[in-house]
Amino acid sequence: MTAPHPPIDLSGNPRRRSKERLVGAVFFAAGLVSILISLAIVLSLVGEAWTFISGLIEEGELGSLWSIGWFPRRGLYDLRTIIVGTFIIAAIAIVVATPLGLGAAIYLAEYANPKTRRRLKPIIEIIAGIPSVVLGFWALAFIGPEVVQRLFASAGVFSMLSAGLAVGILITPLVATVSEDAMRAVPSSLREASYGLGANRLTTTIRVVLPAAISGVAASLILAFSRAIGETMIVFMAAGAVGGALFTVNPLDPGQTMTASIASLAIGTDQVAGEGLAFQSLFFVGLLLFLMTLALNAASNRLVRKFREVY
């Protein structure tokens, strides 16, 4: 008869286990940082934005949110001016980027063979790598004088049109890559079914691939619109109206967007700090901008998830 075996301790090396817990805690902390940053953004924006609104209410100046223009240093905070300016420029940008981006995406996804695709894709990747300050400079030095002013004699050096055209170039790669991904995610069995029925490439693309990829294509356009709304440097450099802008809906006029109004005020932050609520107005505009892009991005994320789930 053998003696009963002593029970084996299977819990392992305690040092190894405590190290395991420590490492897990460190990664958890790293994961929390992005939540903290999100909270910090919301808190800093909401705090100062509330100071701004309550300040206006105290002074009985709520009417200054609807006046002749955006001149924060003179106490005129016409939100119409910068919101309409933002949408005019973003709309011009989408009008530019939709044909260019979608055309490039359809060609790369449906028409180009792998070799051509490898050669042409870098065009889009290089444009995507150009920083916005460079496009802002180019809008100011080339698009303004050489394109917009030649086409429209009444336009000045600064115009919302030249800013919008440059923002359009900026967001084209986004439309192209996200739409191309969506179209390439359409299974080739659908295309083959279409070819099998005798359809040509045009019919297959328009009637089969595009409808199947429509949520991805729509997501790319929404994402691009959101990026256009949040773009600062191009508008700040090329749309003019530094410091303030009169309300206008004419794209040939200089204009101000939400982002550019923040940048142009912030450059002179030291001077602004003492002047009434101008400094706080930055955060109110920032909060509006944050909420708008948040809504657009959420919509686009939902659409992207939809096209991922289908196939």
Partner: protein, 319 residues
């Protein structure tokens, strides 16, 4: 009887034959194809005109001054102004991105992919990361102005700028690129097949040991490519720096300033120089110096991208 065919039969026969030979004349399809090619060629044309216009503008500066332009500091005189101050500032900002955003970002990606249980907190974190990636960069400037500048000043690193220095700028930029680091690293980690992990667990490794010895080495090329591209983003970003008080005019640092004094003093960055030269009253700055600064900026960015592409091709794994 078969020899006699009338006109309509001949037409039918020709149509069937050309259809079978793939010679259908379909103007719609041809026009559509041309239209698509036109779109791509317009993009190419825009790119060529953009780069050409900038190179032509920059050429006189490089012809007359060569590398002196790259290594000269800021100046109000267009004859002597250079971009060196901006290069140093951008490098310092990139250093903060490397120190803060990359370890925290990769750590968060590991947590989300490997550790996170499927609960509300995880979903919340995931949503926060995705939303942060879409927040306009200027909003990060506002965050930096109210939080990071104040913190940097409060812990005694404010220096002569009361916190509006390159330390606050570096931390703000790190916060800006953090979601991108997390998303690209998480994608690289997710691409590692589960069997690789099981091999590690099979020989008795703990979770962290599996991550360290199996998952991270396999995901390394993807993480590296992503982080290198993140640096390119940090180099080109301008708007948040304007909000947190980057110097847009001329300043000079005394030659005998200590490293700490340099870190806490006024600073500028390469893209900010492009911006501030574009709005100088002296047209020499807009017409020749700004394009030359853009050439330097684009050279840096394209080299960073080339490094990323090299890493991707060199280490890419197919499972």
């Amino acid at each position: 009887m078969a020899a006699r065919t009338n006109a309509s039969q001949r037409a039918t026969r020709d149509a069937v034959r050309s259809a079978l030979q793939g010679k259908r004349a379909e103007p719609g399809a041809v026009i559509f194809r041309l239209l698509l090619i036109t779109m791509l060629l317009s993009l190419l044309l825009i790119l060529i005109v953009l780069l050409g216009d900038i190179l032509i503008g920059a050429w006189p500066t490089f012809r007359d001054r060569g590398f002196d332009f790259v290594f000269s500091g800021l100046s109000l005189n267009p004859e002597t102004a250079g971009v060196w101050t901006g290069i140093v500032g951008s490098l310092a900002i990139a250093l903060f991105v490397v120190i803060f955003a990359i370890p925290i970002g990769i750590g968060a990606a590991i947590y989300l992919e490997e550790y996170a249980p499927d609960n509300t907190l995880t979903r919340f974190t995931d949503t926060a990361v995705r939303n942060l990636a879409g927040v306009p960069s200027i909003v990060f400037g506002l965050l930096g102005l109210t939080i990071f500048v104040v913190i940097v000043n409060a812990i005694g690193l404010g220096g002569s700028t009361a916190g509006k220095n390159v330390i606050a700028a570096g931390i703000t930029m790190a916060a800006l690129v953090l979601p991108i680091v997390i998303i690209t690293s998480a994608e690289a980690i997710r691409a590692v097949p589960y069997t690789i992990r099981e091999a590690g667990y099979g020989v008795g490794a703990t979770k962290w040991e599996v991550i360290r010895s199996h998952v991270l080495p396999s995901a390394f090329p993807g993480i590296l490519t992503g982080t290198v591209l993140t640096l390119a983003r940090a180099f080109g970003e301008t708007a948040p720096l304007l909000v947190i008080g980057v110097a847009t005019g001329f300043f000079s640092a005394s030659a005998d300033a200590t490293v700490l004094e340099k870190l806490t003093g006024p600073y500028t960055a390469l893209p900010v120089i492009v911006f501030s030269w574009s709005r100088q009253t002296d047209p020499a700055f807009l017409n020749t110096l700004a394009p030359a600064a853009i050439v330097v900026l684009l050279t840096v960015l394209f080299s960073i991208n080339a490094v990323a592409i090299y890493f991707r091709n060199r280490f890419e794994k197919k499972w």
